[in-house]
Symmetry: C2
Subunit: 351 residues, 2 copies
DNA sequence: CTGTTAGCGCCTTCAG
DNA sequence: CTGAAGGCGCTAACAG
């Protein structure tokens, strides 16, 4: 097996307590400089590596934060993960990443598995719209931060985007371009971000004195195929909309694919004249032919922010500030950037 | 603090050893059915949760596998991660995911941090082309599997794709379409996958009796901007190529963007007539106007495969099969699928 | 089949 | 400033 603190102690001619004190400067008494040097030298020479399992057993802390996302293969989530990881890493924490497979049942399982692993805290993008299971964990003292989606049945700090404002601006941009017949191709009304986006859309129309045709507000799934279907039925209508707001990138993508398929001439050919303003963007946005505006979230920033918050909470907990205060959850909303997408996107504005 | 095995033992009127035996059926002696029931009932009633740090300290195993990728926000990598996670999870393992930020220095740091965490094994997509640091960890007995890229200076099992064959087919498809003037917009020659792809390209040309113009083989960076630049200079040549093979999706994307920018008319306008065959694909591939063929890797499959391999190795190690055998690394290559991308991709063929 | 016992490697009072 | 000693929660011999 590997070297232990005992070996280092012997090699340095000191006690294990002293070694521990130089290796874990956190809550330890001072050590004489020359002793410290002897110890570090001995550790170096022996190639000593700390056994974190043992330390964790003693300190009840693992310096590990679990992250649970609905899926991994998703640009937005991964940018968030990247932000979290960077933040955690810079503070000596490690990230445990797990997918809930878009299932709330699976989310429960993963969360309980992970909390047994003695993680110090948890960051989750909820798979569903309810969060009693999250709340109960938080009540037991698990530091927790939500990202992107806010759930019912839980009062937990969260960091998300200005979904309402972003969609408002998106819609207003279409209105400013003269479009009046605008549809909303939207998501699950149970998902907070989708709900907020719908509400931004409605506010912009209201402000312009337009009452939306109810059949143009298409709620439901938020995957590629949902956008695909919706685009089909919208365009089949007697008097179809001339512009549409897409609730997210997947739906947007599905809509564009439908347009592609509506005439057999491939990405270069002509197609129905519809303009789309979509929430979220990616490197591929400039290639989406119908896309006129897009709203981009600062996903990495959200991740960093969530990383900071979770570390703060972990440290508050260690410091003994019991977190039962419950003065309501604190929701941080990051601004969203709108850009006009005409051959590579230039003009921008923040929400 | 939480309940311990001791509490359960007392509540059930048995010893801690018995409790341990019902909770860790792995290497344990049998327990009478009614005793087992008493124990599980007591554990249930007390809300007992196992302390894994303690178990790990004892068993020297954490049921955790670390995964180190060059970056997280990358479709291909995340599909691989998804595959790994599924496989690990189904066997009771947990995944620790970390990014090396595309830096070999950072990779070294992360790897040594992680190996201190008493992980049972490690899956890595190397950031660089050399793997001495990986080899030395493997030599110390760390089960390890590489994915996607094979490195110099290490003999470690790996799972990757048929890069050579895929690019061969891609190029041959262009040739079959009558193109003769074909360029290769390629990657770092130090990265094994890029090298293999170049070699598949060369073989296809050779087979057709065409000797490639050396100035049409553009090596170097593998990011979006690299493709962008290369497309520019290729088209500026006196007698430019009429078709190109892109080494990966990022380069491909950059090439397409350059085409987009070469005429101010946006994604709908006309553009130079060049056809691209690109390695890798994504949901966005159908929107790339110049894309004629794409090769898709089974990323999730690669992940699953790597997950299986690492678990096997972990178990071999536990079973005492010391892994110094060194009968050369075993490289598993998954086939690649070529598809013709004309308005949504249909025809396919496996390598 | 079950209980007793001795640590796994580290941290942390309590003495010195 | 440093050493000795106990124990975190669990498992794995070894007895019974």
């Amino acid at each position: 097996m590997g070297k232990t603190i005992r070996d280092v102690a012997d090699a340095a001619g000191v006690s294990t307590a002293t070694v521990s004190r130089v290796l874990a400067p956190e809550n330890s008494r001072p050590v004489a400089e020359k002793t410290r040097l002897r110890v570090t030298a001995a550790a170096e020479k022996l190639g000593y590596r700390m056994n974190y399992a043992a330390r964790s057993l003693k300190t009840q802390s693992t310096m590990t934060v679990a992250v649970v996302f609905p899926e991994l293969a998703n640009d937005f989530f991964m940018d968030v993960a990247e932000g979290i990881e960077r933040e955690l890493n810079s503070r000596g924490y490690t990230m445990l990443l797990s997918s809930s497979l878009n299932s709330i049942e699976e989310e429960k399982k993963r969360i309980s598995m992970l909390s047994d692993r003695m993680i110090d805290g948890m960051v989750v993008i909820p798979a569903g719209s309810r969060g009693e299971h999250l709340q109960s964990l938080a009540d037991q003292g698990m530091p927790m931060v939500l990202v992107d989606r806010i759930v019912e049945g839980a009062e937990i700090d969260a960091v998300t985007s200005d979904n309402e404002g972003g969609t408002f601006m998106l819609t207003r941009a279409l209105l400013a371009d003269g479009f009046k017949r605008i549809a909303f191709v939207g998501g699950e009304i149970t998902v907070s971000s989708a709900r907020e986006r719908l509400s931004g859309f409605a506010r912009a129309l209201a402000e312009a004195g337009i009452k939306p045709d109810p059949s143009w507000i298409c709620l439901g799934g938020m995957e590629v195929e949902d956008g695909y279907k919706r685009m089909g039925s919208l365009l089949k209508k007697r008097n179809p909309p001339e512009a549409m707001v897409a609730v997210n990138l997947l739906v947007h993508l599905g809509m564009e694919r439908r347009l592609l398929d509506m005439n057999g001439s491939g990405p270069n050919g002509p197609r129905p004249k519809v303009v789309i303003a979509g929430f979220d963007e990616s490197r591929y946005t400039p290639f989406l032919p119908a896309c006129r505006y897009s709203a981009s979230q600062d996903a990495v920033g959200m991740g960093r922010c969530a990383g900071q918050r979770i570390i703060e909470k972990i440290q508050e907990k260690k410091a003994g500030h019991f977190e039962g205060e419950k003065n309501g959850e604190r929701i941080i909303r990051l601004p969203v950037t709108i850009s006009r997408s005409e051959n590579g996107a230039v003009s921008k504005a923040a929400s």
